[in-house]
Subunit: 348 residues, 2 copies
């Protein structure tokens, strides 16, 4: 089974964008705040938005199921206030829920959190609980920079995050570290901020004792870990200079990297440097890079091909990357994947 | 000849730190501002600071000469105002000049610029001219985030930078893109900000037409280019999606990467992905990572070993990485390197 742990609903029907525009226009006049129930998107629109895009690419590439979350670039936790983010997150998560109901064999929900710059993160707990307990989601996306490119908020090692971490442990769900779009003219979102967010978060964990306090807390750092695997020697050396434990012991029981690296040499490095137990297959399609690589004739984000090409991976390694590690890091996928596998088996 | 294009005077004698402390203490009472001439550092102190550290490591590793600049982490352009930065930069650059006079065969000067967050960059031009024309320096370090981890200033593509770029072209000197320490509790300087600065700057150039406006302007992106080579497919794809020219044509006539990547797989990737004409040897020693890698028994930052180990590089490739590209990117090193080479030859 091939599980893609990182997909966003980037092709969401226009009704979502319209709602968001109304919400932003209402920032100056709260009486005009739209209700999330005002969103007009039909099931057919959802089907159309996926059939020619993510679902087609899933089939073309042999991907069975995707952990699917709202558009990362539009979480925009820097816009408005905590209420703005609450309503927007509920709306986005509800739409993901509808996708998982229409395509229960293809999509598993991961939620956006209603973070807001300057607001203590414990405020997101009710929405996390709703998504996990009521909507059947299996994880969340956590934005380490709700200020959108200005890094005004406290690091992930700060105790203000601990109530959320306690809840994640209790619910047995991981978070993918994922920044959103930026409001900073110098920081391009998919070309700089995403990778910087990954790198920054890793270093925040390296310099902290979060995982002493939460031994079972788990994070996925996407985009192949930002700059981290390429600079693995730097990080091993920094940890050593700082008298931290070796990275394997200090962080790799809790931190995992996805495979959203869009060329063969990058995936080769990832597979060489990071233990196979810490690598989860992902594409982030349809996402940051949408074209075909003229050097290969395949989509840049067709990351399964790169992993297939890594000659030294064993069958057991591939199982871990494509399925086993997702089952371990996102324990709530297990009954869902078992159901899908049984259905496929019965069908065959 | 082996030219290390990236070294900082991290072992500068304590007199420099004392001066900086006085300067910071005087921020609230400008009448107490120390003069740069008050710094007390003897030639013997300079010799001692280098003989057991950078000079010893140069000899141990077979490095001939280092492009040497003030401590990057302490440029701290977010402290004080433009005058603070002016005096501090002059003091630091003067000290580098003394190093180049004491060890003219080992060190070539690269200057710190007196940037200040919120101040138009043209204000740094007089100090750049002084360092190049009067002190014989060959390049400068340019901080893309003078706000120290908050990214409050305008991107490198903004026209506010153009007067500086015009002067760099006129003087025929490149800039190394190099952030400084941070005043942001969430952003570790050597473990996150340095790499993020590199990545961010690359993307600022990718999305701009700076090199159409300045076809001979040159930048070195240090730390192996931050996250960029690891995500080279992402950047090729982003450029393609944005209808920018291919990266080779769009950026690689003007942007170069150093080899400060502290493990073999990282250097292998760099050498595989980035054209050899765009890679300059560097160590940044004594710098971010000071220990010995227990996996190899050698210093993490002994990057010459990694390059020596890249099996597919030809002698011509190695010449470019170790010397030729430095001569091309920093044209003002040529008479200096020629003099050193002649002296070594006459001596032999």
């Amino acid at each position: 089974m091939i599980v893609d742990c990182h997909g966003h609903y980037t092709t969401a029907p226009n009704g979502l964008k319209t709602f968001r525009q109304l919400q932003i226009e209402a920032l100056e006049d709260p009486s005009r705040n739209p209700s999330k129930h005002s969103i007009k998107i039909s099931d057919d629109e959802i089907r159309e938005s996926l059939e020619g895009a993510q679902l087609k690419l899933q089939r073309d590439r042999g991907i069975d199921v995707t952990l699917f979350s709202p558009i990362a670039g539009q979480m925009a936790h820097h816009i408005g206030n905590a209420v703005t983010s609450q309503v927007w997150s509920e709306a986005c998560n509800d739409l993901i829920y509808r996708v998982t109901q229409l395509y229960p064999d293809n999509y598993i929900g991961v939620c956006q959190l209603p973070q807001s710059s300057g607001v203590p993160p414990k405020s997101v707990i009710p929405e996390l609980e709703r998504c996990i307990n009521e909507l059947g989601f299996v994880g969340c996306n956590l934005n380490p920079d709700p200020s959108g490119g200005y890094w005004k908020d406290l690091p992930l090692s700060d105790r203000q995050w601990y109530p959320l971490y306690e809840k994640m442990v209790e619910l047995d769900v991981p978070a993918m570290i994922h920044v959103s779009g930026t409001c900073n003219p110098g920081i391009h979102h998919t070309g700089a901020h995403y990778l910087n967010g990954d790198t920054t978060a890793f270093m925040q964990f390296l310099t902290s004792d979060v995982f002493k306090d939460f031994p079972t807390l788990k994070f996925v750092i996407p985009h192949g870990g930002g700059a981290v695997p390429y600079h693995w020697g730097r990080y091993r050396g920094l940890a050593q200079d700082m008298k931290r434990p070796p990275l394997q012991e200090h962080l790799l029981g809790n931190i995992f990297f996805d495979t959203c690296v869009y060329h063969q040499p990058g995936i080769d490095l990832l597979a060489k440097v990071i233990p196979v137990d810490n690598v989860l297959f992902a594409t982030e399609m349809v996402g940051a890079v949408r074209g075909i690589d003229p050097e290969t004739g395949y989509y840049f984000d067709d990351t399964k091909r790169y992993i297939d090409n890594v000659s030294w991976l064993t069958d057991e390694d591939r199982y871990k990357i494509f399925e086993g590690n997702a089952r371990k890091v996102y324990p709530r996928v297990n009954p869902i994947l078992d159901r899908i596998a049984k259905k496929a088996h019965d069908h065959a």
